[in-house]
């Protein structure tokens, strides 16, 4: 009950935060020079002022900023994210189209990174200064220092061009019209390289955080107590240390929720993955403010939800936190 009340209070607090996000986004984006009409006219190569004015009128850019803002606020509060004139489609449907592939890629990368990273970090921390720790730490350092785009291109060169095992890019084999298990297998083949490239960087982060947390925890009194009770080292590590050391991992996972929706523009670009990151990038380039505001708002909402969940997980892992 108390936990529920806590959650409801957090949800209510989220409303003013969201309104703040909306105002801030709108203000920041209108500071950028250039507008959608001039970019679209520029792409045309040769456009008349009448054409540019026509675009501005159609996009509502010929109205004063306060009126544009009022219009934006009122439609947003009615859960209408608006219309992308550049794409001639509603913002919501553009975002929803990309949400699936984004969540698939980020989810896979996240699970890979968190799983492998936590495990390796736990092993490294438990056997501090051993050869194994050295190897794991060195690999983690290397992985975190490797530029993602470079790793992605190297994976393409090795696995696509030389070995010919996996496709270079894309989400599925277009025109193959796969269905059922064949479709899942096909998407999986396309997913593997981008997920590994993206996970590689995060693995390193999780290893480092987990290792530090484990080392800190093994110095605590409760570990000595457990050892004095005669519990095995393995039992201490997985039964006591792991649960306490997992807290910073959960914190980091919460922080990274923003990436989960924003995606990785670089990995999406290298592998031609149809995610939200590249959508946001092209929207920015085209000054498609309605679409950008929509993406920012959806990202903000997801970050808030994940942070709420993280808070709840905290209180499960460590009941003291609730108060």
């Amino acid at each position: 009950m108390r936990r529920l009340r806590h959650a409801v209070r957090r949800l209510l607090l989220a409303v003013p935060v969201l309104i703040g996000v909306i105002i801030l986004n709108f203000g920041l984006l209108h500071l950028a020079p250039g507008d959608a009409a001039s970019v679209m006219a520029g792409e045309g190569g040769a456009a008349t002022p009448e054409y540019t004015d026509m675009l501005r009128h159609k996009f509502g850019l010929d109205q004063s900023l306060p009126i544009q803002f009022w219009h934006y606020i009122t439609t947003t509060l009615q859960f209408d994210l608006g219309y992308s004139f550049r794409n001639d489609e509603s913002v919501l449907s553009l975002i929803l189209e990309r949400l699936g592939p984004t969540l698939l890629l980020m989810g896979t990368a996240f699970l890979l990174a968190a799983g492998i990273g936590t495990l390796l970090g736990l092993l490294a921390g438990a056997r501090r200064n051993s050869v194994g720790d050295g190897v794991i730490s060195a690999l983690a350092l290397l992985a975190s220092a490797t530029p993602t785009f470079w790793l992605g291109l190297m994976l393409i060169i090795v696995f696509s061009i030389h070995l010919g095992w996996l496709p270079t890019s894309g989400y599925e084999t277009i025109g193959a019209f796969n269905e059922g298990a064949a479709y899942v297998f096909d998407v999986g083949r396309h997913l593997l390289l981008p997920a590994v490239s993206l996970a590689c960087f995060y693995v390193a982060l999780y290893v480092r955080v987990m290792r530090a947390a484990v080392i800190e925890q093994t110095r605590q009194d409760y570990v000595i107590t457990a050892r004095a009770k005669g519990q095995t080292e393995r039992g201490i590590l997985f039964g006591h240390v792991f649960r306490n050391a997992a807290l910073p991992i959960v914190t980091m996972a919460g922080v990274q929720a923003g990436n989960l929706i924003g995606g990785s523009v670089i990995v999406e670009a290298v592998f031609g993955w149809p995610g939200i990151g590249t959508l946001a990038f092209s929207a920015l380039q085209g000054r498609d403010l309605n679409l950008l505001l929509g993406i920012f708002l959806v990202s903000a909402v997801v970050v808030m939800i994940v942070n709420l969940l993280v808070d709840l997980v905290y209180s499960v892992l460590d009941p003291r936190i609730e108060s």
């Binding site: 950028a32 020079p33 250039g34 507008d35 001039s38 970019v39 679209m40 006219a41 520029g42 792409e43 045309g44 190569g45 040769a46 456009a47 008349t48 002022p49 009448e50 054409y51 540019t52 026509m54 159609k58 550049r86 794409n87 001639d88 489609e89 553009l94 189209e97 990309r98 592939p101 785009f149 291109l153 393409i156 060169i157 696509s160 061009i161 010919g164 496709p167 270079t168 890019s169 894309g170 989400y171 599925e172 277009i174 025109g175 999406e268 670009a269 290298v270 592998f271 031609g272 993955w273 149809p274 995610g275 590249t278 959508l279 092209s282 920015l284 380039q285 085209g286 000054r287 498609d288």
Partner: protein, 532 residues
Amino acid sequence: MLSRRSLLGSTAALTLTLTPQAKAQTAQRGGTMVLIVEPEPANLAAYMSVAGNIPPITTQIYEGLVGYNWDLKPIPHLAKSWDIAPDGRTITFHLQDNVSFHNGAKFTSADVEYSIMHVLKKLHPRAPIVFKQLTAIETPDPLTAIFHLDNPAPYMMMALSGYDAPMLCKALFENTDPASNPTANKPVGTGPFKFGTWDRGQYVRLDRNPSYWQPGLPYLDRLIARFIPDASTRSAALETGEVHYAAYSAVNYADVARLRANPILDTTSKGYELFAGLSELELNSHRPPFDKKAVRQAIAYAVDRQFIVDNIQYGFGKPATGPICSSFAASGIYTADVRRFDVPDRIAIANKLLDDAGLPRGENGMRFATTIEVNPFGQQWQRQAEYLKQAFAAVGIDLSLRNEDVGAWLRRVYTDYDYAISEPFVSNASDPVIGVQRQYTTDQIRKGVVFVNNSFYSNPEIDALFAAGAVELDPPKRAEIYQKIQKILVEDSPLIWLTEIQYVTIFNKKLHDATTGPLGTYSAFDRAWIEH
């Protein structure tokens, strides 16, 4: 550059226009062609945007009244013939019979009238130039469309392809706001391929039109336009054979040599003749010292154009001599007989011009400092600006580089005029009236309009010559007018013309007859076929 086989193939395809069956001995039916389109278009509304990434897809779906042959002359397409009145003010088009749109509606002169008068004339960015003189289209019967013009407009015939003037289905546009028509994302035309699906962020799929009006065509079952944001990945996709075709230099120039060595790939530079890309430096003459002709000429002398071609464009291009590309030599419009800046003692001349202009070198050896607005459309412009910094330093001009994104760059250079030097590239298009005039006449000084006269050049003689060229029907007389324009403009150097850009198309050797005319990837792949 161009393989002998593809040249032969293209020629064959042209000569056999009326009998495509004869080609079918070698051409194989079926298969899927995958092409790169970069970047992903925002929409497919070819009737109201000429963004370069739209026509590779829409010209498969929409067709125009005419096509163009390698001599850059109009050839029949949806119009099987036409008569131009001696005064040039009436053009009668006779349309192909039995052409239908993908929705089943028959294509008639009413569609021609509606497309041009009610959609293109209102929405197309180039319409105010191309269709300026067009006052009405008369439709005496379903297969005849008579164009009435106020004044002769010889360039109009050069802008009626499926790329410039797509023919739309009247029934889908009537009683709607053409600027927000559903066909913007689901085009319906008469072309060899029908719109299938658009999975945003990934691809557009087009399917064969089984009831295409040219019997036996197209050969391919399917076209897939893929969007891969990263240039290196695009190269990789060509190398693995996942992608068959990439036009408009969609890969890094640095990768081209490697791709060309790949046994499964071939390249061509044909198919860009009606684009005629020209890279330039725009100089703001409202900013001293660029108001002085001598200073502008000095800059023109200071640049080694061949160096840019060899080292920055990896050989894909040639030095420009003036405001009109050498591809217009075919119509006699182009001339190289102008003041030449590629002389051996060009640096000495530049230094003397600057000395005489009252700009002596200061203590640091520099005469004055200025800034170039780096073109944001790709890496090569950054490289070019870096080279220019060195070239300018040699004559005592201290050049700084400023990088901004597309929106900010356009606004600074064409709306706020807050610039000294900019480095755009423009298209001469299919006629000087469409692609050249806009940068030099007084009436083209238009705040907020991009790629027009932002150097504030104003010369009554040039204005009069361009006006005369636009209505002159006799080709030799017309050529003479434009040759005179080139001489005057190069002498005045309101802009610095750097290079003619040569694009490269990379394609899989299994793909045949993909480049069959001067519009290249801006025309249909109706005769393209894949070995399988």
